[in-house]
């Protein structure tokens, strides 16, 4: 694991690329934090007497969903493109240790990116007495979320030798995972009026994503395409069901307690990235949140190892 980790880390910092990404990330984060702040807090950033990192942490999940896949896209794709993949896979090291070496290199780079943004709170601290606790909590949340995204990026990177494809797929999955939790508004309403179709949607939307993923990188494109098509049909049926069975407003109240509706609402709460992120940011470092992000990491690293190992048998 050590040599692979060192080699990957070196790959990040050897070229100016790594430094460039870090620099760009800091600039983008700071600019967006300043520019978008009025939208959240109201009033001009400079005019308001209230300096906070709310916007910074608020936009991080979305920025990270784009930036982290760009960082992790090369982890395996680069090797897949060159013959070094064959070298790694014939080393007397188990694949999971190689994958972890690469994963930790990606996480180290993420930590460096986050560390570089510390200039922002330091800058803010010049204007007043900051409350450091939420800032630290925010950074922990950012790190955990980023670490989960690195695992997603690692997995996708192992599926294709095309870095650009790895980037786009990684970004889509990251945005999808964040977005799925944010569908509470839509699905939560639906769960109250028509819990069955809500559940169907909840299941079929990720399946559409998986189907697209399989179609993009799978050997047999038809499998992915058919899965996507089936899931889309499922979506259509779910919508049709909803409109067919739509009840007047009074049904909302009564249906909210159905088991299916309950399950959908609970699940949406459990898989909401932003909920977990927000809790940790507020300093609530509970097991729920930790398990959620650690679970994502374990899931996608395992998927990565499995996808690479299964290549030996194809």
């Amino acid at each position: 694991m050590g040599p692979v980790y060192a080699r990957e880390l070196r790959g990040y910092f050897d070229s100016l690329m790594g430094v460039g990404i870090i620099g760009a990330f800091v600039v983008v984060m700071m600019l967006l934090s300043v520019l978008l702040d009025p939208l959240g807090g109201g009033g001009d950033w400079f005019a308001r007497g209230d300096l906070s990192m709310r916007t910074f942490f608020g936009i991080f999940p979305w920025v990270a969903a784009v930036v982290v896949p760009a960082v992790s896209m090369r982890l395996w794709s680069d090797d897949r493109r060159q013959a070094t993949f064959e070298l790694l896979m014939t080393l007397p090291i188990p694949t999971w240790r190689i994958a972890l070496g690469k994963y930790f290199a990606g996480v180290t780079f993420l930590a460096a990116m986050l560390a570089a943004t510390v200039v922002y709170p330091l800058m803010l601290s010049q204007f007043g007495e900051p409350d450091w606790a939420p800032v630290i909590g925010g950074y922990i949340a950012c790190f955990l979320l980023g670490a989960a995204f690195v695992a997603i990026g690692l997995f996708v990177s192992g599926l294709t030798e095309n870095q650009a494809l790895a980037f786009f797929l990684g970004m889509l999955i990251c945005l999808g995972i964040v977005g799925l939790g944010e569908m509470r508004g839509l699905l939560g309403d639906l769960a109250r009026t028509n819990p069955e179709s809500a559940m169907m949607l909840l299941v079929s939307i990720p399946v559409v994503g998986l189907g697209l993923l399989a179609a993009a990188v799978g050997r047999d494109k038809m499998v992915g395409i058919s899965v996507t098509a089936l899931a889309l049909v499922g979506n259509v049926i779910a919508y049709a069901w909803r409109s067919g069975q739509a009840k007047p407003d009074d049904a909302k109240v009564s249906a909210a307690t159905t088991p299916a509706g309950e399950a959908v609402v609970t699940t949406l709460g459990q898989i909401s990235v932003l909920d977990h992120f927000g809790e940790i940011q507020r300093g609530v470092l509970n097991t729920n949140g930790l398990v959620f992000f650690a679970g994502l990491v374990v899931l996608f690293v395992l998927l990565n190892v499995w996808s690479l190992e299964s290549r030996r048998y194809s």
């Binding site: 050590g2 040599p3 692979v4 060192a6 080699r7 070196r10 790959g11 050897d14 070229s15 060159q82 013959a83 070094t84 993949f85 064959e86 070298l87 896979m89 014939t90 080393l91 007397p92 090291i93 188990p94 050997r219 290549r311 030996r312 048998y313 194809s314």
Partner: protein, 404 residues
């Protein structure tokens, strides 16, 4: 050291490898030979545990590739078809990485690094970035990587492809130096390579093993014909028919020689004794006619020919090809006793083109001037590729006049 037991590999429904078995002992250098797409790389990938066989198995140093792949990998140094290099590292950094990944550290790593850098002649480029190396140095770096942990088994997939002749000779020398205490398998589709270093050859075609043995053994397995080259001062057309009458001579090709000379290329059957008898008779004939015998050179059957003969017999041959052959036989019935006589007065040196080498002494029944393209494209068909007369599959063997 290596035992391959009936390995078969399917890629989807395509059978890349079918029931291939062979053994390689310590100290042996096995040349793994076959046209492109024959299954050479697939076999090597299975031996290195990069991929897994669909059926059958193999053991390396007593360890099964499917049961204990990590153990197998410890014993193997592997150079894939493309050298597995990180372009952003220097040769030193890269080899250190390879060594550490193989569990070397400290003094062991230093001494091994020193050894492979010397063995592979990498000293001048030690501090250079891999990206900036020439193809030859890249290949050597790839080999150095495979040697860093001093493995018992060395598996080299086309180690000389794309190198210039000088670099090829260097790699050959390197393999030769390493052979004493290792078991080496290297693949190639260039026959000269195989004969130059290998102590034994395994030939595969269309995923099947078609031959296994030393070069001499393969020669015996193959057809019994050989080629004799003759250069006569004052020879003319009457000489052609006279030569055709000599016992064991199956075919006579007259070719343009230097001014005042005539060159004949004879196909002789009857194996080595037949060849000797024919040579004696030819020498007498030239003397009797009062001509000058400038050159009489029996040639051992070229490996190219052995190879093509074996491919002919192998199951990789397609129905289309067999049909074409049948049609040709029909259109050109040939009595086995009547030697063919040909006058081909174009081209100074019969070895100048691969095409000529192919025509001479070919066991195929369709030998005729201009059939070179046909022969080449047939080979291509047999290999499952699109016929492409321009594709150089074999390096022409240079004339070896000194050969006794």
């Amino acid at each position: 050291m290596i035992e391959v037991k009936g390995i078969t590999k399917y890629y989807g429904h395509f059978m890349a490898l079918g029931d291939v078995s062979f053994n390689v002992a310590k100290g042996e250098v096995l040349g793994f030979l076959g046209p492109n797409g024959a299954g050479k790389s697939t076999t090597m990938k299975i031996l290195t545990t990069y991929i897994s066989a669909s059926e059958g198995t193999a053991t390396v140093a007593g360890k099964d590739v499917h049961v204990s792949p990590l153990e197998v990998r410890k014993h193997i140094g592997y150079l894939p078809e493309t050298p597995p290099l990180y372009g952003d590292m220097t040769v030193e950094e890269y080899l250190k990485f390879a060594g550490r990944a193989r569990g070397l550290a400290g003094d062991t790593l230093r001494s091994r690094l020193d050894a492979v850098v010397n063995d592979c002649g990498l000293r001048p480029k030690f501090k250079s970035r891999v990206n900036e190396l020439s193809k030859g140095y890249k290949q050597r770096t790839g080999i150095a990587q495979a040697l860093i942990h001093d493995p018992d088994v060395l598996i080299l997939d086309e180690p000389t492809s794309g190198l210039d002749p000088r670099q090829i000779i260097e790699i050959r020398k390197l393999i030769d130096r390493l052979r004493t205490n290792k078991c080496i398998i290297f693949s190639t589709h260039i026959l000269q390579e195989a004969t130059a270093v290998a102590s034994r050859l395994v030939i595969v075609n269309g995923g099947r093993k078609v031959a296994d043995g030393t070069v001499e053994e393969l020669g015996v397995q193959s057809a019994d014909r050989q080629t004799v080259r003759l250069l006569v001062r004052g020879g003319d057309d009457s000489m052609t028919s006279a030569l055709a009458g000599v016992a064991h001579v199956r075919r006579v090709d007259k070719q343009q020689g230097p001014a005042g000379y005539a060159r004949f290329v004879l196909t002789v059957d009857g194996g080595q004794p037949g060849g000797r008898a024919a040579c004696e008779a030819i020498a007498r004939l030239v003397q009797e006619k009062g001509l000058g015998l400038a050159e009489l050179a029996p040639e051992r059957q070229s490996l190219e020919q052995i190879f093509l003969d074996l491919l002919e017999k192998s199951p990789g041959k397609t129905a289309a090809k067999a049909k074409a052959e049948g049609a040709d036989k029909e259109s050109k019935p040939e009595s086995p006793k009547a030697p063919e006589v040909q006058d081909k007065s174009t081209g100074d040196d019969p070895h100048a083109t691969r095409a000529d080498t192919r025509v001479i002494g070919s066991s195929s029944e369709i030998d005729m001037p201009g059939s070179a393209g046909t022969a080449a494209s047939e080979t291509a068909i047999a290999m499952g590729e699109a016929p492409d007369p321009d594709k150089t599959l074999f390096v022409p063997k240079p004339p070896d006049r000194e050969e006794d």
